[in-house]
Symmetry: C2
Subunit: 198 residues, 2 copies
């Protein structure tokens, strides 16, 4: 019985917590016995999109490449987590349409801009506000929030743990994560097989 | 029990038969119960490498992108078939080194240049010989054959069927394909499970 794969698509501004949340969630999902790959924006830019910039066209190309890889993984039973700003709603919706219904879960990682500017651990917002970084989402480049994301996490007010729990609950409701009971039953099955009783 | 993933890397000149062989092999491997994805050079150029040309640097970038996706798939139990000219030996060897030992199988699809020019179903060699296509492998761009590929298929003299059988035998010897007996045992297991005896 193969695991059902799907895409978990994190969208949100720089510094909102997409990478942190997706890494934490990956750990939890692996503990539940799922295969998981995180396609993080920065890592993907190195491996798949070197040379692309931050124009609308280049951002969209980057998003589509992540989606292409996520599709390959998902149809082979992997939970593919995409974590890139992916600021354009239409592009995200187009990406959603390339997945089977119910196999694309959009997670909007929201944090108010003032909070992002205040936290700014990498100093990127400060540089963007000074005009040293161009095409910076939220400063001189748009961010279009989703209308109907499956999950919203507001990292301006809630902790990483709370956000992970919220996403996990949604996935459980959608039947995309084995509940702990089912998991135990599977373990029993596996053990029976291992001792030759299966 | 998860399937063991690995990369099957087809290298060879344009028209040598990489796409045909890899598509046929994919069918056979799926029939044996394996998960398979074919990362074909042309398709990958559309999805991952639009804008790249045929300079050494761009070809290497394309090859590395295919390899990156193949690694993600292979470590999740998928047989990832890469089918791109990948003309540079050093680059192929670097790619090999990014896979666990025994998880990278290089298939050299060889066909003599004269035969390729003679067959030339897409008329590409004719155009390259007239100078209409630049950077064409084998004409004005190099092809460096592998020193020690796991499999060599000579499509100048052998049929697709023969080539597929040769590759399949090699994979069986390497323990990378379930033999038909093992497969039958697994089926019995599955059926027992399905009727609640597992």
């Amino acid at each position: 019985m193969g695991q059902r794969g799907y895409a978990l698509w994190f969208t949100g501004m720089s510094g909102a917590g997409k990478s942190t949340l997706s890494a934490e969630l990956a750990t939890v999902l692996r503990d539940r016995g799922l295969k998981v790959e995180v396609l993080d924006g920065d890592e993907v830019r190195t491996n798949l999109s070197k040379g692309l910039g931050f124009s609308k066209e280049d951002r969209d190309t980057n998003v589509r490449r992540i989606a292409y890889v996520a599709r390959l993984l998902a149809r082979n039973g992997v939970v593919a987590i995409g974590a890139a700003i992916s600021p354009y709603k239409e592009t995200r919706d187009q990406v959603r349409d390339t997945f089977p219904v119910g196999s694309f879960v959009e997670v909007f990682v929201h944090c108010p801009l003032e909070t992002l500017i205040e936290r700014d651990p990498k100093g990127l917002y400060a540089r963007a506000l000074k005009g040293e970084l161009k095409h910076f989402t939220g400063i001189d480049d748009p961010y279009e929030p989703p209308d109907n994301p499956e999950v919203i996490v507001n990292t301006g007010v809630e902790t990483v743990e709370s956000g992970v729990r919220r996403i996990l609950s949604a996935l459980e409701l959608m039947g995309l994560v084995p509940r702990v009971d089912e998991q135990r039953a599977d373990l029993v099955h596996e053990r029976l097989r291992a001792v030759g009783q299966g």
